[in-house]
Symmetry: C2
């Protein structure tokens, strides 16, 4: 029986950078090429002797490589999935070597539209090629090679991270043993495309956007903030908004009868929208949402069976949340149905939650229990040894 020795933060951690495809640029799905490519990544814990304990965590739309711990002592909040990554946590860094990489097309250290185009010496802007979830994942395989890992124990992620998990499973099944797609889908629905497109239109409408060429001047923050506000609504649920805000007024005893903030929910959205512009690049928002919209593992008849034809040996944990209306449970059920049909070992849980899509980050206790039990099963089944320096 496993006992938790330490539950805590992994402490200070440094983001690392890996550059590849300098001589031979990566061929993208669009037919264009990209290189050199830099990937920003972080790792937590240590590889064991036979390099069998590595878990790749894939991040969502606005995420980055900094999934756990602190990059600096003064950082107010730890990495985005710190609740689940660390000693004694779900992705237990006493046992596992956890890797998180910023996607290409992003803006947190990996090559994307705000990177310098070596051919012009200026930021790419819209001259950056459109990348797909498949391209993002292919780039990640180069990092996994670089780290000397032939086979990952698992690939895990929620939302857009889950799409990467599915792409990994469909395309590189021999390089992994388990897949954990959480609160995600095998194809972006028209409603998801619609919300993404409105967010993009909001960015295009900002005159500071200037066709994507804004790095020398003011940024299209107003448009990006609106895009983020739209996103935030879709990450919550009607119930969670009732519980969190209701019709409560913000620092007012009565209606203002003006166009200042009346309601707490308005204040929350304005704050979240504005904060986002401090940390995210508008062009990256365009590229990353486009990658999600293009994502579709099904064939022309809408079937997923072909996609997983060679992935039946993997062990799957599929998770959805009852109040997630962005990626409703039926998306996960379709996935489970296809995986079962190809004979894969699939565990599926539709978690009761009022938190909407955000539940995958917020239902920490349930997720911890579920992930721990699934990962323990992998440890037993594949006889995964802890790293030699592990505190256990």
């Amino acid at each position: 029986m496993l006992t938790r020795s330490t539950t805590g933060s992994i402490g200070l951690i440094e983001t690392q950078y890996f550059t590849f495809a300098a001589d031979e640029p990566l061929l993208l799905e669009s037919g264009e090429t990209l290189g050199p490519i830099t990937l920003a990544y972080e790792t937590y814990g240590q590889l064991n002797a036979d390099r069998s304990n590595a878990i790749l965590i894939c991040h969502a739309l606005s995420g980055h490589a900094h999934a756990a711990g602190f990059n600096a002592p003064e950082e107010p909040d730890p990495g985005w999935w710190d609740d689940c990554i660390g000693p004694g946590k779900a992705f237990d860094t006493n046992k596992f070597f956890v890797i998180c990489v910023n996607v290409i097309g992003g803006c947190k250290g990996s090559t994307g539209p705000m990177s310098i185009n070596p051919q012009t010496g200026r930021p790419f802007g819209l001259s950056f090629p459109v990348v797909t979830i498949g391209d993002m994942v292919r780039a990640q395989t180069h990092l996994i090679d670089h780290l000397g890992i032939a086979q990952l124990l698992a690939v895990a992620g929620g939302s857009m991270g889950g799409m990467q998990v599915l792409e990994w499973a469909a395309t590189y099944p021999q390089r992994m043993r388990a897949a954990l797609p959480i609160a995600t889908t095998a194809r972006h629905s028209p409603m998801l495309i619609a919300f993404d497109e409105v967010g993009r239109q909001s960015i295009y409408a900002d005159p500071n956007w200037n066709g994507g060429d804004y790095y020398d001047g003011p940024r299209p923050n107003a448009g990006l903030a609106v895009a983020r506000m739209i996103g935030h609504i879709t990450y919550l649920s009607e119930t969670s908004m009732h519980l969190k805000f209701g019709r409560r007024l913000q620092e007012r005893a009565r209606f203002g009868y003006d166009f200042e903030t009346d309601f707490a929910v308005e204040s929350y959205l304005r704050y979240k929208g504005n904060r986002f512009t401090e940390r995210f690049d508008a062009n990256s928002y365009l590229y990353v949402t486009k990658a999600m919209d293009y994502f579709d593992l099904s064939d022309e008849r809408g079937s997923l069976l072909g996609a997983f034809a060679h992935s039946a040996e993997l062990i799957y944990l599929v998770v959805s949340f009852t109040s997630d209306w962005l990626y409703p449970p039926y998306h996960s059920k379709e996935l489970v149905s296809a995986l079962s049909a190809v004979g894969a070992d699939v565990s599926y849980l539709n978690i009761q939650s009022t938190w909407g899509h955000d539940a995958f980050l917020l239902e920490v206790d349930t997720m911890t229990e579920l992930l721990t039990s699934f990962l323990n099963r992998l440890v037993k089944r594949f006889e995964i040894r802890p790293p030699s320096g592990s505190v256990r």
Copy 2:
């Protein structure tokens, strides 16, 4: 037994205008005053001898007084609820005198932010006072007075129109016999406020908006288009978007790997957003959404009982649609529960539909059957005679 003599269009119709409160401005809920006020309205059919056959139709967010027929022979489409208003239709103009009024704060003929402020000779813009659903309805009572109607047979409307119906019932029960609130709510939920606020933020973010003072220059069309696109997503359902668009591409055989339109759903939203800017005023969008957000008939404990305490004599038809996630059926059920508790005569139907919120305009056959049967009941119960000139 009633037989339908003619089912058809009411043909050419002229919008009329009524001006009041010139000497004594209307006191608004905000405490400010407004006057003179002009109301644009249309009427279809004729009043009967005892003036007992009048039905007021209240319009939704982007609606107007032009509910049926054609204002000009070259008009491509008839009024917004022409499917249900006309000879032999649900609101049968052979039997009923149907009235539709543009709300104050709107931009289709009634006084609103784009009207000329008599004190400055320039459009009001943001100096227009914030109006509420209560103010809109109070203005309508002046028109009903002007038309010489002591008591309406019914007040009907969907979405924001339904809020006006509820406000009428709660505030002027003695001036009506029946209320038909459709696909609506007694209080705007935080999710609805959130979507409205994002739409407003999108308008504020358009530099052409210029604090609402744009009538002499270019209009904030880009911001207004984004606001409308957000709205359009919320009027559909995930299912209706699957059926209508799926992941179909628009005039492309494969992905473009660029930021032009790839998907049909994107093309639809762009078209709808742009078209809207040709017919709607951005400032009106701000005022009308604010009025909806302020709408709340419940008391401080969240109870609706007090609101309908004096409305128990009315006959109600409450309608919701199963796939409407903007005003989900439980909003209507709360309404029905409160109305039943005060002893009102309530019929409620939760109509099975995949069309989302738009269903109230699209489920024509079901709505026609339902409305016809309910209105026939009123005709019998109150012995409503047809107008003398009626074709029957």
